[in-house]
């Protein structure tokens, strides 16, 4: 029986991937070191499930990619979902030095995007600030034995000694997972790449930096098409940058990009080669009563994600998450407050730069719920149907196997109840910027600095 405080009298919702109210989230696993001293290189900078949810990739500031694979569910324990174990680890990007500008190029992995699987191997795109790489991850669990011309240890056999002919046979061997870079897409971005997105045609993908968006073909590395360029002729006039971009999940000619002024532009690549003129322009009119010096900064969109259906898109700005209907440009259809209690602290957050933190957001598989991160290792989930929301915490204290996560609450004023935490006690160093939701099940991955938490729902 569900003892979650949220679903007091809610009837059990329809089966399938639901929101946060008819089941509870439980701790499943945590990956990463426990030390208090976190090495900068270990900080996770991106998290992404593949299309089937079998693989979970993370990238960190040290340029490494770690891929976890879900183990097959055991028939002995049907209630426990498969665990994620390390499948492959490789160094995707190395730090570089731009000699012309005398500046380092960070090896931090900004984004990882999986390609749909087409054969036994898995492919993913990983990018740092300047270079995108296509990695092939393949398994090898057999090897051929019984060669004619060489021994088992590789030495060539003396041809005159060979008297019989044999056919090599495939023998099993320990599983070896190899990651090899298949394509390197470099030198196309002057500014820092913030997004990559694989197109629904599975042949092209786009990459976006602060001022430009390029369209690539996965097979071609020495050329890309520039499809958006908002760089002003005179850089003195620069007031707006691109913050995120994504391809439409079904229409390969459509993509969106968001800006630092809180606007989203939808572009159709059929209209023109250079999509500087948008097809649709999404902006919510500002509320004049809440205008302040920080209005623009907190309206800057840090992430944009299409729903799986392709009908909606979600944007994350500093204090809220908004769901937009692609057919309605003048305002979002839903707005969810993530941490409204921070609105009175904006000046302090501006001073310590937290106001510039870029939070991501994600949909669940059925588009009925959305999730995003906050501070103090809190993350928030919103059920779009019931309009319920829940705040959970990713912490080692709640890390007993299959322990139910207790909802957290931030006290905004007045008397602080037991178990509540006051705004002034929040730890702004512990921020959850990257979260991912399994495409089909209620399994979520939450990156808390250098630790990756995996939570699952408890099947009732």
């Amino acid at each position: 029986m569900c003892v979650c405080s949220l679903c007091v009298s809610a009837p059990r919702a329809a089966a399938g991937v639901g929101g946060g109210n008819d089941f509870q989230w439980c701790f499943s696993q945590v990956k990463g070191a426990i030390d208090e001293d976190v090495a900068e290189a270990d900080i996770i900078s991106t998290v992404e499930f593949n299309y089937s949810g079998e693989l979970l990739a993370t990238g960190d500031k040290g340029g490494r990619v770690v891929i976890f694979q879900r183990e097959q569910e055991s028939k002995n324990r049907p209630l426990s979902r498969g665990e994620y174990n390390v499948y492959s680890t490789f160094q995707s990007h190395e730090p570089e030095f731009d000699y012309l500008k005398s500046l380092e190029i960070e090896e931090k992995i900004n984004k990882i995007r999986w390609l749909p699987q087409q054969n036994a191997a898995h492919f993913l795109l990983s990018t740092n600030d300047k270079t995108i790489k296509l990695w092939k991850i393949s398994e090898r669990d057999k090897r051929a034995e019984g060669y004619n011309l060489k021994d088992e240890d590789g030495r060539l056999r003396d041809p005159f000694r060979i008297s019989t002919l044999r056919v090599p046979v495939l023998m099993p061997m320990d599983l070896m997972v190899e990651a090899s870079p298949r394509r390197i897409f470099a030198n196309a971005h002057t500014y820092h790449i913030n997004s990559i997105s694989v197109n629904s045609d599975h042949e092209t993908y786009l990459s976006a930096d602060d001022l430009r968006i390029n369209l690539w073909h996965l097979e071609i590395t020495d050329r890309s098409f520039n499809i958006v360029d908002i760089k002003p002729a005179n850089m003195e006039e620069l007031t707006e940058v691109i913050t995120a971009a994504e391809c439409h999940p079904h229409q390969c000619n459509v993509f969106v990009y968001s800006s630092s002024k809180g606007t989203i532009r939808l572009c159709d690549m059929r209209a023109a080669a250079l999509c500087d003129r948008h097809s649709k322009f999404f902006e919510e009119p500002e509320d004049p009563s809440s205008r302040s010096f920080f209005s623009e900064i907190i309206s800057s969109i840090s992430d944009v994600k299409f729903s799986h259906s392709g009908r909606y898109m979600m944007t994350r700005d500093y204090l809220s998450v908004k769901v937009w209907d692609l057919n309605m440009e003048n305002r979002p259809v839903e707005t969810y407050q993530v941490h409204e209690y921070l609105r009175s602290k904006l000046c302090s957050l501006y001073e310590n730069d937290c106001i510039f933190d870029k939070f991501e957001c994600c949909w669940n598989g059925s588009d009925s719920a959305i999730m995003t991160g906050s501070y103090n290792n809190f993350f928030r989930m919103f059920d779009r149907n019931t309009r319920r929301d829940i705040t959970l915490e990713a912490s080692r204290e709640n890390s007993k196997p299959r322990a139910t996560l207790k909802p957290r609450k931030v006290c905004t004023g007045g008397k602080r109840k037991k178990d509540e935490i006051s705004v002034d006690s929040l730890d702004f160093n512990k921020k959850i910027l990257h979260t991912a939701w399994h495409p089909k099940e209620n399994v979520i991955a939450v990156a808390a600095t250098n630790n990756l938490y995996i939570f699952q729902d408890k099947m009732n």
Binding site: S102, E104, A233, E236, F293, S344, C347, N352, D353, F356
Partner: protein, 322 residues
């Protein structure tokens, strides 16, 4: 990320209610009383709240300018962050212009020796960001191993603020600006636009030489120039070689401001063969020494606001120039 403790400016600006207006304004009133606070009050109708609002707005402006100054020396700074901060500065300026307080602040801070006209906003941090030996700042990159990202290579003194009465001219962080100039250097090579690539050249050095002569130690004196539009001049934080070869006026004024650093930036040879210099204490070092920030940064609690005020006084003192 820098873990500087927070000053108590948190509530008035952009917020709904403030419980500390009185405390803050009392403190700063003491500070500014010798420097023309009376003028400020008269101009702003003497209302306590409004004068404290404008003081806090001023400190937000200063904070923003310092943020633009403290760009990462190892890695290219975040363009989105710089754009947002620059837009904030522009917004403050516009409001101050409409208020008429831009004029007042100019008069309050200008010394008698310099005419208030045609001057750019600058803090001493921006003016005197380098040693006299004119080494390229960017090569201190390699000596910054242990330094946090936001330490500035600058003089330790935040001296007087010189403010323009033409609100449109804002002199923003030179290092941020030069970060973008370096950016454009590469961009020029790659772009098809010939207009950019044509801006590289010896012409840059000539401008530098002129401005070097005009540079002063204290506040930088900008030559007569016509006020530019806000966006145009504000955007010089993303400055490019276009600034150098643009129309005379604010460009040359800006050049003068940054002159002791500029030459090396535009000189490729110097860039590639520069000498490292030791890091100097920057304003964030000052903040650090005032307020040790061990542990997680948290929003100033009421119990620490008194010490925050003292620190704020100290910082304001330095900025204003006692």
């Amino acid at each position: 990320m820098s873990a500087c403790t927070l000053v108590s400016v948190s509530t008035v600006l952009g917020c709904h209610s403030c419980s500390r207006i009185d405390m803050f304004s009392k403190g700063t009133k003491r500070k500014f009383s010798d420097d023309g606070d009376e003028m400020l009050d008269e101009s702003l109708a003497g209302a306590q709240v409004s004068s404290s609002y404008s003081l806090q707005r001023q400190s937000l402006l200063d904070m923003s300018l310092i943020k633009l100054q403290l760009c990462h020396m190892l890695v290219e700074p975040n363009l989105c962050r710089s754009v947002l901060i620059a837009n904030t500065v522009r917004q403050i300026q516009e409001e101050m212009t409409h208020d008429g307080s831009w004029q007042v602040v100019t008069e309050a801070f200008c010394g008698g020796s310099q005419s208030p006209s045609e001057r750019l906003v600058a803090t001493e941090v921006l003016c005197r960001s380098r040693e006299q030996d004119a080494e390229p700042k960017l090569f201190s990159v390699l000596s910054y191993e242990g330094c946090r990202e936001e330490e500035v290579v600058a003089d330790e003194t935040l001296c007087s603020v010189s403010v323009s009465d033409t609100a449109s001219n804002v002199c923003l962080s030179e290092s941020a600006r030069h970060c973008w100039e370096r950016d454009e250097l590469v961009d020029a090579d790659r772009d098809d636009e010939t207009c950019e690539s044509s801006r590289l050249g010896p012409g840059d050095d000539e401008d530098d030489d002129d401005e070097d002569d005009d540079d002063e130690d204290e506040e930088v004196d900008i030559d007569e120039e016509s006020p530019r539009d806000n966006p145009k001049t504000m955007g010089q934080v993303f400055g490019t070689f276009e600034i150098k070869n643009g129309t005379p006026g604010p460009d040359s004024a800006l050049e003068e401001l940054f002159s002791d650093v500029d030459a090396s930036y535009y000189d490729l040879d110097t860039m590639l063969t520069g000498i490292q210099s030791a890091p100097k204490m920057g304003p964030y070092d000052l903040l650090d020494s005032l307020a040790p920030s061990h542990g997680p940064p948290s929003i100033g609690s009421p119990s620490s606001c008194r010490s925050d005020l003292n620190e704020l006084d100290h910082i304001m003192e330095i900025i204003v120039g006692s």
